[in-house]
Structure formats: C-alpha cells, structure tokens
Point group: C2
Amino acid sequence: MNKLYKAIIENGSVEDGNIIRVDSFLNHQIDVEVLDYVGQELFKRFEGVKVDKILTIESSGIAIAVIAARYFKVPVVFGKKTESKNLDKDTYSEEIYSFTKDIYYNVKVSKKYLSQGENILIVDDFMAGGNASLGLIAMVEAAGAKLAGVGIVIEKGFQAGGDILRRKGIKLESLAIIDGKNEEGIIFRPN
Amino acid sequence: MNKLYKAIIENGSVEDGNIIRVDSFLNHQIDVEVLDYVGQELFKRFEGVKVDKILTIESSGIAIAVIAARYFKVPVVFGKKTESKNLDKDTYSEEIYSFTKDIYYNVKVSKKYLSQGENILIVDDFMAGGNASLGLIAMVEAAGAKLAGVGIVIEKGFQAGGDILRRKGIKLESLAIIDGKNEEGIIFRPN
C-alpha cells in the first residue's frame, strides 16, 4: 500500500457534511514523507507531458506544488485569495467558492506569471465541486497558456468536480479517490 | 554569492511604504532552486539544535516550511488565518497583524499539533514588525512547548521585529537582512 493510502486509512476520516479530515498529515500538520511521495507520484503520472510551470491556490495547495516542482524542475505560481500590498494591480482573477470555508474568494494571479504558450499543470490538495480547478483553468485560458493537466491528492468521488473535468477531456490525475465510507471504513475507488 | 542574494538583487526590489517585492521567486511565483537553497541553509543555521516540528503561518510560510522540513525530517504545522470546516474547535489562537495586508487575522493552530515539551522551530518568509513570529511564539508557550528558534528568509532590518526577538534572547536566523536601498541598489546588512 502506498504512503498516501496508508496515511488516509490510519489518520484520515470521512465526516458528516462531506468533510474528509486529513489535517494530521496534509492540510494543517504536514507529514513531509507523505508529501514527498505525493510530489514523486504526481511527477510519474505526468511523465511525458510538457510542464513549464505549476499553478496552485493558497494555502494547502502550496505544499503540494513546491514538492512536486522539485521533481518537475519548474517554478510554482499560487493564486492569492486576499489583497496584498505586494501583489501587482494587473492580475487574472476568478471568483472561487471554497466548500470547506463556505465563502467566495476573488483569487488573483499576476499577469506577469502566466504567459501565452506556457504549459501549465494545476495541482491542489483536494478536488470537491471543482470550483478551484475550474477557476484556475479559466486563468490559464485567459493568459493564452495551455493546460497540461490537473493533479489532485484526494478527489471526493461523491462530489461532481472530478467528473466535470473528465468530461471536458482534461487529463486529471487524482492520487486517491474517496467514494464515501461504510462500517468497514473509507471506500477508495479502485485505480 | 548565494542563490538567495542573487535572486533578491536580480529580481527583487525595495519599494515605497517599506515594501520589499520578491514575488517573482518567493511569495507569488516560487523558484524551487532558490527555495531549496533556503531550506538547506536554514537546516545548516540550526545544526545541533533539537527540532521536533516546524511551525509557520499560511500562506507564503508554507513553502519555506515544507522545504526546510525535508532537511530536518520533521513534520510541519501551519497556523490558519480563516475558519474552516476541517479545523478542530480546540485551538491555540492569536490575533496577528499583517503588514502587507493591513488587517488582523485570528490565527489558529489545533491543540493536537503542538505538544508540551516539543522543540519547535518557527519559519517564515519575512520578518517585519515581528507580529507573526511573536504570535506563533505565544502559541508555542501556551502549549508548553520549547522554542528552538526562528528562521526567516528576509528580515526587514528597518523594522523592529528582528531586534525585538534578539533582545528576548531568541535564536533568530535571517538568511538576508535588508536595511534599505540607495542609488546603488538594495542595502544588505553584512553577515
């Protein structure tokens, strides 16, 4: 069993309200061994795909993106959820709904860091309704860049995001897809 | 010249309003080579110091923390700035003022992830007024954990944070201290 599945089974939980708790190793406390496995595995899943840059969204996505970027040997750019004095005025921006926080963010990426013709890999910790990925994809398109694919650590198979992306023909690689839980524990979709 | 100084000189700038812009390689777009140098160098600066866990604050700190954690071989915990359905109710929390965003955040860390007796290294991308570090230090103390030190990528030497920490006798390691700028460019404090 791989390190991610092991960590999910031993330390994760599926809770009421479609919440998957992995805060002991992925999105509050971070186990760097699991994280490093995630980076390597994303690299493997996109072998042969041209990737010039990795795009993610703050905050949890940053950890995934920088570890993956070490293997891809490309820069990371992360979308910002709040205004900041050190962000350019000239940005791509998208309204993105956060399921876990139940608010809309106006996510921004400086136009300097997404360029026409670049091959962009989007990565994130979770895929739920797909709002974050679809927002980032819209920015990639607005920049005239090319989408290399989307790499996700945990896809909530019981929410629509993954299927929305697959139906669009996007190369989506989710390292674990969780379909729910039963008395025996977490139900993983077979690979 | 090390990779961090080189990146600051070639791609950074000191702007009006005490803003240091390093968004092309550190806190919006991230150059993983520079980041990896930062992780290695923080590890070197804390050689011989017992570190059980690295604590940082979302968002930019996360990239620094996870790369450093690969060298220290310890977990990362990051303080959360917003409420979330997947955060425990039982948290350490501190009001922290963000200079670049000009707002107060109520930063929270789950009590599960800071424990009595643990040796905690705090890392962050910037040290300005010291608010973020002082808030995180207060959480370390509230948990009965021990502060191993504070590792910062860029300290704004013209703001008070660094000296406040040094006067408290805290082991503060700032990889670059910027004292301002003149016609010749950015002024680094000699090591």
